[in-house]
């Protein structure tokens, strides 16, 4: 310890050494910067000798950060570092390691059964705690969790419409592009040069087509129970009109259900799902499941032309480090990360659920999906 602090005193005498040290500190805290930034920072110090601490801070911030998120982080770290120099250098980044992922109590409820019976007209314990506020009146504003059976077919029709809406929105670009062949004048000219410039042959070029793929990850744990039946219907309808899609469900573990949804009838699809998925209405391990997805399928399924759609309420009891890691990956690799949260429809909703709060910075579009109106709005926003 004594040696340490002595070291520091000598270091303190030289600003540039301190800056190098600070860059390293930032790196350790997960704020990326490299030798190039270090060099820039030193150059800047030479050009602009910092006469007051504010100036130094602004200068370093301009050079060492590359995004808004990092700037906010930078400000925190900057204070931490300079105010508390010796401790900052000393502690080799010991900010509370996450608790060990706990094995969740497995609670096997055959709720696919509940889902099916509900779909086939069994209302039963429907009036449980409604997660969200629901306006009375028109279907479109009614919370999913509050629907009665008599309204079901109507709702399903609407959901199918939405699915089609979303699918065509992503395909429209493709079709228009297919028609829009453009004359490639450069090649045309080349081609006809030997005829003395008489244009006889035309060369075309096709616009590069960008087809969107979609990966859907749907939470089917207990807390999502009231919603997953609708979301399932949505996924089914969606997959039927949009082919470039991969669908997964997760509770305590992740399962791919793309094949099962390719059934001609929804009831058939449900039949298959109930055989396949033994995780309905159990606990949630979002972090673990998303991490598993990233590790197993990420490389293959997620690229710049992929929209990742996550349907979940963000309830997670542990493994936040996993969740964050997975979200960072998805955010970086995917074209867009969309998170639909049925609870977000509640006017009092705050994404304070730990899992949700962890994931939020890495989401491109966060919207609610608790009723038809919000689903429609979310779809509109997604295709923007």
């Amino acid at each position: 310890m004594a040696v340490q602090s002595q070291n520091l005193i000598t270091r303190k005498t030289s600003l540039s050494a301190n800056i190098v040290q600070f860059c390293r500190f930032l790196r350790e805290k997960g704020l990326p910067n490299g030798p190039a930034e270090e060099a820039d920072a030193l150059r800047a110090m030479a050009i602009l000798p910092p006469e007051d601490p504010e100036l130094l801070r602004d200068c370093l911030r301009a050079i060492l950060t590359r995004s808004r998120r990092n700037q906010v982080k930078f400000d925190e770290l900057y204070d931490e570092y300079w105010r508390n120099l010796d401790r900052a250098v000393d502690s080799k980044v010991k900010d509370g390691k996450e608790e060990k992922p706990q094995a969740k109590p497995k609670q096997k409820a055959p709720s696919i059964q509940a889902l099916k019976s509900w779909l086939h007209g069994n209302k039963e314990e429907e009036e449980q705690t409604l997660a969200t506020y629901s306006a009375t009146g028109s279907l479109i504003h009614k919370d999913f969790s509050a629907f009665g059976t008599e309204e079901l077919s109507e709702v399903m029709k609407l959901i199918q419409q939405f699915a089609r809406m979303l699918a065509t929105q992503y395909q429209r670009r493709y079709r228009a592009a297919k028609k829009g062949q453009k004359l490639d004048l450069r090649r045309t000219l080349r081609l006809n040069l030997r005829r003395g410039g008489e244009i006889l042959e035309l060369a075309f070029r096709k616009r590069r087509v960008r087809k969107m793929k979609m990966v859907v990850l749907c939470d089917v744990s207990k807390s999502m129970d009231l919603y997953s039946r609708f979301l399932m219907q949505f996924l089914y309808a969606f997959q039927n009109v949009y082919r470039r899609i991969e669908t997964f469900v997760f509770g305590t573990r992740l399962q791919r259900i793309t094949e099962s949804l390719r059934e001609r009838e929804f009831s058939g699809a449900l039949e298959k799902l109930s055989d396949q998925v033994n995780d309905w209405s159990g606990g949630t391990r979002i972090g673990f499941c998303l991490k598993y997805f990233v590790d197993t399928f990420g490389e293959r399924l997620v690229d710049q032309n992929t929209i990742v759609l996550i349907l979940s309420d963000g309830w997670d009891t542990g493994e936040l480090a996993f969740l964050e890691e997975a979200m960072i990956y998805l955010h970086k690799k995917a074209h867009k990360v969309v998170w639909l949260n049925p609870l977000a429809g509640n006017p009092n909703f705050e994404p304070s659920v730990k899992g949700m709060a962890t994931a939020l910075p890495y989401i491109d579009l966060f919207a609610s999906a608790h009723n038809l109106d919000s689903l429609r709005k979310a779809i509109k926003a997604m295709s923007r």
């Binding site: 050009i47 602009l48 006469e51 007051d52 200068c59 301009a62 000219l189 030997r194 410039g197």
Partner: protein, 298 residues
């Protein structure tokens, strides 16, 4: 506010061009010019990101070359294109001549037939210009990658001619609204500047400068109201441009203060989304109360 001579020089330059800055902006602009690094500016729409490039060009007394990005922006619009009409005409006029094919080809694929698009223009300019890449997040990754190539080598290769090297390295300003996440590679190459909505004092200064004939009380009320409105959940949060439009129109109508009726009838100047307008209308008296325009007793 800034004592450093170099910085205050820049601040003055910006100020003479009518741009009211804050410290972080001055420092970033200064460092970008000194370190010769591109400046990546992000922030909500309407806070004056593009302005910075314009002001920089004026301050440096050089030209501004602007490339507005959009989806599908490709090399022919960003780098160069051949002037086909001219090439064809030339071939026609040249019809009778005995020149060889190769010779003809060489002529029409020469520099005279080249249409320079912004990136090529920028690197072949007679004096380091300011190159503004506006709303880069609207372009797709393909553009970003060839833009990066230009940024790192300062040269553009044209198959028919060869490599065109930069005569002067431009000052580069890149802006984005964060509709898409930019690549790490691009970020790494740039200095980063985030510009947020201005605070009350800054906005007031801007309004008073750009709308000099405005009543002081009105200007203060407008700025306070804007600050309050921006707190609301809106689809399209109004930027400085909206504030200025509003201030200009109210000033030209010779108002000297805000009241409910004036605000209600001119809301369309600052809000561009009908849901926002409706939302604001219903809570207008509350907002005006917060602004201090009407008191609870009234």
């Amino acid at each position: 506010m800034i004592s450093h001579p170099e910085l205050s020089r820049i601040e003055k330059m910006l100020a003479t061009q009518g741009y009211i800055t804050e410290r972080s902006i001055v420092i970033s602009v200064f460092l970008a010019m000194q370190l010769r690094k591109p400046l990546l500016i992000e922030g909500p729409a309407g806070v004056g990101k593009t302005e910075i490039a314009k002001v920089m060009a004026q301050a440096l007394d050089t030209d501004l070359i602007r490339l507005q990005c959009y989806e599908g922006l490709d090399a022919t619009h960003a780098l160069y294109e051949w002037n086909y009409q001219r090439q064809l005409l030339h071939l026609k006029m040249d019809e009778g001549s005995q020149r060889s094919l190769a010779d003809k080809e060489k002529t029409i694929f020469g520099e005279a037939f080249l249409l320079k698009r912004p990136l090529l223009q920028a690197i072949t300019h007679h004096k380091s210009p300011v190159l503004l890449i506006d709303e880069i997040d609207r372009s797709d990754e393909e553009f970003e990658s060839f833009f990066l190539e230009v940024l790192s080598d300062w040269q553009i290769s044209i198959p028919e001619i060869g490599t065109v090297e930069a005569t002067h390295i431009p000052y580069v300003v890149v802006t984005g609204n964060r509709t898409r996440e930019l690549s790490e590679a691009l970020r790494r190459r740039c200095l980063y500047l985030w510009i947020d909505y201005p605070d009350y004092d800054k906005e007031l200064a801007i309004v008073q400068q750009k709308v000099p004939n405005i009543d002081k009380q009105l200007a203060e009320q407008i700025c306070r109201f804007m600050a309050v409105v921006r707190e609301e959940r809106l689809e399209k949060v109004p930027g400085i441009a909206e504030t200025l439009d509003w201030a200009t129109s109210l000033a030209s109508l010779h108002f000297d203060h805000l009241d409910q009726e004036i605000v209600e009838s001119t809301l369309g100047v600052i809000l561009k989304d009908w849901q926002d307008i409706r939302h604001t209308q219903t809570s207008l008296s509350e907002l005006l109360e917060k602004t201090g325009v009407i008191s609870k007793l009234e």
